[in-house]
């Protein structure tokens, strides 16, 4: 893919297929995501958006096609796969923080991929790396006083930011987000989207699934996914009304 410029792609999917129970969840999906790119993934529910993100972060291995990370094929040994996953951060819809641990312990959990056992255990005993954790919180406009609080004591908006701060702690190059705005009120949703777009400046990249076409103009590229297949891959300026209509036509499926 030399014609895409000098910069190495963060993530490249080539003709990905994932089988499903009745019909394929993904079929022949190819895409390239370069540093600095902020990409929105649109599509009706059931189109395969979550599956695509799960292939990207390594949760689901595709049955066909290949995944490349920084030009290398996806790790074939568990060790190599983990090394690649360490740079891919996922903002889960249900956040998946560890409720019983403090904010600081949760932030440091983002480092577990590179930490050895001594630090991993020490993190459960003492507050570790307070400076880095404070910096991550401040960057997201959170009060550093929260570091010692258990996650279960936080409000919904605070939890979302803590989950994002964990991705900063992880030093992820690629940010994946599965409908992060779905359950938020408009004000919180705008705030979170601002944060995500700001954090995704080069060398990072962002792939975010969304069911609000009205926000498409804020991204560099828009992908349309329907029935497991990519319908379009365009800049928001190129996106036309009838393409969106075709994407959402007739409910979830044919």
């Amino acid at each position: 893919m030399a014609d895409h410029g000098l910069e190495r792609a963060l993530l490249e999917l080539r003709a990905i297929a994932v089988p499903g129970r009745r019909r394929p969840r993904l079929q022949g999906v190819s895409l390239v995501l370069r540093p600095g790119e902020r990409v929105a993934l649109l599509g009706p529910s059931g189109a395969g958006k979550s599956t695509l993100l799960a292939v990207a972060n390594g949760l689901i291995p595709p049955s066909q096609g290949s995944v490349h990370w920084l030009g290398e094929p996806r790790g074939l040994t568990p060790h190599r796969l983990r090394r690649q996953q360490a740079r891919i951060g996922t903002l889960w819809q249900d956040l998946r923080l560890v409720e019983e641990l403090t904010v600081q312990q949760n932030l440091n959990a983002g480092r577990l991929a590179v930490w050895g056992w001594p630090r991993a255990v020490l993190n459960l005993l003492l507050p570790l790396d307070t400076e880095a954790c404070t910096a991550a919180l401040q960057r997201l406009d959170l009060d550093p006083q929260l570091l010692g609080q258990p996650v279960s004591a936080l409000s919904g908006g605070q939890r979302q930011r803590v989950a994002l701060a964990r991705l900063l702690r992880q030093e992820a190059l690629l940010l994946l987000a599965d409908e992060p705005l779905a359950s938020l009120d408009p004000r919180l949703a705008d705030g979170l989207l601002d944060l995500l777009l700001a954090e995704a400046a080069a060398p990072r990249g962002l792939l975010l699934s969304l069911h609000r076409p009205d926000l498409a103009h804020r991204f560099d590229r828009v992908l349309g996914l329907r029935d497991g297949q990519l319908l379009f891959d365009l800049s928001p300026q190129q996106l036309e009304r009838q393409q969106l209509a075709a994407l959402y036509a007739g409910g979830a499926g044919p």
Partner: protein, 535 residues
Amino acid sequence: MRLPRPAAPLWVLLPALVLLPLLLLLPAISHGGGWGLVGDFAAAALRPSLEPLVLGSALEGLAITVAMALLGWAASLGLGLLLGVASSQLVWHTCGGVAWPAQLIRRLLALPRSIHELIWGLALLQLLGLQPLVAVLAIAIPFAALVARVVSDQLDALPVAALEGLRSAGARPAAALLTALGPPLLPQLLSYGGYRLECALRSATLLGVFGLGGLGTELRLTLQSLAFRELWTGLWLLLVAMLLLEQLLGGLRRRWAMPERLNLGRASVGHRGRELLLAGLALIPLLVILGWWIGIAPASDWRWQPLPPLAAADWPAVAALPWARLVGNTVLMTLLAAALAVGLAPLLLLLAQPWGWTRWLLQGLWALGRLWPPPLTALLLLFVLQPGVLTGALALGFHNLGVLGRLLLESNDHGQRGAEQALSCAGTGPRMALLYGRFSGLARPYLAYGAYRTDVILRESVVVGLVGATGLGSQLMEALSAFATDELLALLLAYALLTLVGEELSDRLRRQLRGGARPLSPGPAAATALPLLQG
């Protein structure tokens, strides 16, 4: 400098710290004489004796053990249900308007419950002589008291709206109780009853080890005559029987939509009701046939054995027993065994991750632990260790590790795995992801169960009394065989008091652990289900 404050995932591993002093002490109490024997024992596992005579007698022993377990279990269920209804405040309130008789019956039932089935067995053995009925009664009496407590707890915790509705519509008390409380109680009772059957099989084997007949007796005799190949014939058979029973009960639980052990929410038996009734009816002739086959004849069995002339009670001698040391040793052994079992299960789970053949290895080890009666382990340990508290604790710990490990693995399989998945998708290794993502949520319900288990181990500590110097248990064994009635009574009372205090303490600890559980923890139902996991 702030003090280190362990977070939830470490709580479950902290009890395993007991391994350190234990490993330091082990060389001091090992005498190394019997390593050859232990080797022979292990080698014999692969070459059990298949001689028709040995196989036949082991099979017959197994059949007798299963029959005793079934009969004792059925009797305890029937009796326990009656006693449970009789000790329910709600029932007394509805029928008579007063609640104090319920409290009274409940208090009285604490005594049979606090005495282990082995003591019941040995005492009845002296009174009734050696006959199958003894083992059946020994299982039925304490189990009935346990079932009664669970039934009354459940009854009193059920919502009363339906009952009040029926009552105000003029229904008679008994009919109203049965209609309103029967359906919600049934699945809980069935699930718990199935679990009690597993316990009954373990208890019947244990009673056999002490000479009450069946496979347990064969196991002990073959172990003591060092006939390891014959011993393994019996053990493999028992293992097969135990795993079959566990699978069968698990299957029935699913088929009849009964709640899982760590997830006893509301569930109804639904359209399988008729099948359930048929199964219950089919059980009755089976029980009668089994009873006839092992030779229970109620008319002739109730003949008291002539007791040897009792010596006059010598209370000063009883008071002069080293009570502090006896109680201290019993408590120490209990805590050691509990820490070993509670701490080792998650530690081994962590080491066995990621799953593969290691999971099978763990399951096998835990099945052996459940199968192997603690006194047999203790006897085996005596080949290489000196008798004492540590040896007893190791034997009890191994057995309870089997019980706890299975429960942990089950809840691990059924729980939520979101946080663990998120961590492993960010490149965290499978062990660290398990520690951070799963153990955090499991910590409270698991430790609450561990607290309950400690209470069970305290009661159980009497069964390793035969390896000597283990506190109240061994003293009790001596008093039993010496017909020292005064000493026996005092020891029984002490044991009962100790277990009641232990029960109260573990109840409090559990309530505390439960109180702090977050509403969405992987086992919210687990906490409410814990009282149901008796045994």
